[in-house]
């Protein structure tokens, strides 16, 4: 036991005395998260749009001048080429949209706005049609009234000259029914309700949980891996191997020593996210910390394992594109449901994938322990497997005892 704590104490001292590493461990994630917050949490920008041929069109009111600049066809063409506008709408019939097209996100923004305007165009069309119908009905009503006058006169004449025929006609005439009163259709509107989250949830709120996982994993991976690698390259591991310390004490000493920093790091990181950046969080802070803590254990144990395969720091960092970058993309930051099966299987083998799922359950869906225990368990399993392999691998450095 005392060996274990001696290991842990040494690692804590090493990190504490290395101010730069300490700063990297704690400040760098905050810095990057703030940056990401600005990028994804910012309001979406407005598309720049224009209309041409607006004067002669009935739909001009659907394209208010506050959103659509009025331009001549030539101006619009030029502005589009100069990227001053994202799209312009040609209001001659049929209505045409010309997009700049080089940036999908701007295309989307423009099309969104234009589609809203097109809905108004539809409304204008509908009112126009109903107005036309009304005037048709009115003229027909007038015609009917005229005929009724004639009929009355004819009836008077019949009454005078052939009362028998009139009585017969009245008997045979179908009973008059009053036409049902026209009902105006109910106005249709959309009511939104959210099972989780609310309408102010932005991209950063959805990214946040994944980001926490990625940063904790990345920094613990780098520092833990290099730290254990140095143990090999400087020969201190040999010295440990020539001492009575047990293999598991070395590995667990690392886990405990780094674990303490992970607690501090994840606490600061989570508090910063929740209280300073105001990320959407309905779950408890404790649950979040638990997941981050478990995740970092798998990061540390994996980095120690991979450091065995590295000869120097450079080779250690070569694992980052191999181990970290795929995790970023398959972590759940982007939807992976539509990817080929084998890619999804790879995603299932990545620790950050589980932390993202768990953190989303906690922070956005607010499902509590029931929502994260399974993901947490998978992460613990990852760590247990890595730690066991580590202990076996380190045995190779001490083949005799």
């Amino acid at each position: 036991m005392s060996n274990l704590f001696a290991m842990a104490r040494r690692i804590i001292r090493q990190i504490l005395r290395d101010r730069r590493t300490l700063a990297l461990l704690i400040m760098a994630p905050l810095l990057i998260l703030t940056l990401v917050w600005f990028i994804f949490g910012a309001k979406t920008s407005e598309p720049n749009l224009a209309v041409i041929n607006a004067q002669s069109s009935d739909f001009a009111s659907a394209f208010p001048t506050s959103q659509y600049t009025r331009m001549s066809p030539l101006e619009a063409h030029q502005a589009l080429a100069d990227k001053k506008i994202d799209a312009y709408v040609d209001l001659s019939t049929p209505v045409n949209v010309h997009l700049e097209g080089s940036d999908p996100s701007r295309n989307g923004l423009a099309m969104n706005r234009i589609q809203k305007s097109m809905q108004k165009v539809q409304q204008i069309n509908v009112t126009k049609m109903s107005n036309q119908l009304k005037s048709i009905i009115q003229t027909q009503q007038k015609a009917i009234q005229g005929q009724q006058q004639v009929m009355k006169k004819m009836m008077a004449a019949l009454h005078l000259y052939a009362p028998g025929t009139l009585a017969q006609i009245q008997k045979q005439a179908p009973k008059q029914t009053r036409p049902a009163a026209m009902q105006t259709p109910e106005k249709v509107s959309l009511d939104l309700s959210y099972l989780h989250g609310n309408n102010s949830l932005n991209t950063f709120d959805a990214f946040g949980p994944a980001m926490v996982g990625i940063f904790v994993f990345l920094f613990i991976f780098m520092i833990g891996g290099v730290s254990f690698l140095r143990e090999r390259t400087t020969g201190t591991l040999d010295r440990l191997m020539a001492s009575p310390i047990k293999n598991y004490q070395i590995i667990w000493g690392y886990m405990i020593g780094f674990g303490l920093f992970v607690i501090v790091q994840s606490f600061i990181l989570t508090c910063y996210l929740v209280y300073v950046l105001n990320i959407y969080n309905v779950g408890s802070l404790f649950d979040v910390l638990m997941i981050v803590f478990i995740l970092s254990f798998s990061a540390l144990s994996l980095s120690i394992l991979l450091s065995t395969a590295a000869k120097n720091e450079l080779q250690m960092f070569q694992f980052i594109p191999l181990v970290i970058v795929p995790q970023v993309f398959l972590s759940g930051l982007f939807p992976i449901d539509t990817l080929p099966k084998w890619v999804q299987v790879i995603g299932d083998l990545m620790p950050i994938h589980y932390s993202t799922e768990a953190l989303r359950n906690i922070m956005i869906r607010g499902t509590g322990f029931a929502g994260w225990w399974l993901d947490g368990l998978v992460l613990v399993l990852f760590s247990v497997v890595f730690i066991t392999i580590n202990i076996i691998a380190i045995r190779r450095s001490r083949p005799l005892a």
Partner: protein, 239 residues
Amino acid sequence: MSHPIKGEHLYKKFKKQVVLDDVSLTLNEGEIYGLIGPSGAGKTTLVRILLGLEKADSGDVELFEQRPTLDAFRSLGYMAQSDALYNELTAYQNLEFFASIQGLHGNRKRQRIMEVAESVGLEKEMKKGVAQFSGGMRRRLSLAAALIHEPRLYLLDEPTVGLDPLIRRDIWTLFRFLRSKGATMIVTTHVMDEVAKCDRVGLLSDGHLIAEGAPKELTERYGVATVEDVFLVKEGAAK
């Protein structure tokens, strides 16, 4: 007389290169054994195999007359060719750590740290970070770390490399002091003037132990002035 280290018919090769070819080596209790030979002769490999840090392809190793166990390491002080120190820590923290994993604690630990620091002449530098140490200071601190738990057996790989002559003399005085307290020591070196200070030397060349014995006895046996010349005689004979 007991034999703290016994290695028999050790054979080791890395890839295709044979590093040790049937080397047998036995240390008597309370002697300083010098393992000498040119660099690349296999000295470090031999020491690592005796320690159990590497496995011989064939042959047996006994520590304290039994198969090596973790417990045997408690009585063993190892100093590698590299300094094997934690650069981020102070000298004191380094020694404190190595003392702890050797099972020392409390007052006894503090006392031992000061003792070994004094014996290598670093008692005034204990609060300094190791990163600021000179090469010689690091070497001495590394030696101190190997002494901290008062082992009965020392395996020291080039303990005096990079040290100036005065300090080197002090270190050898320290070795003789440790021997006087019953310690056994195997020291590798390729500095020939240290050879005369050993009780017994083994000459390692190309993975073969070509000669073994007290320095004086060797020079007389081969009729040469220095132990160094034994290499020349032996290698001349081989050719």
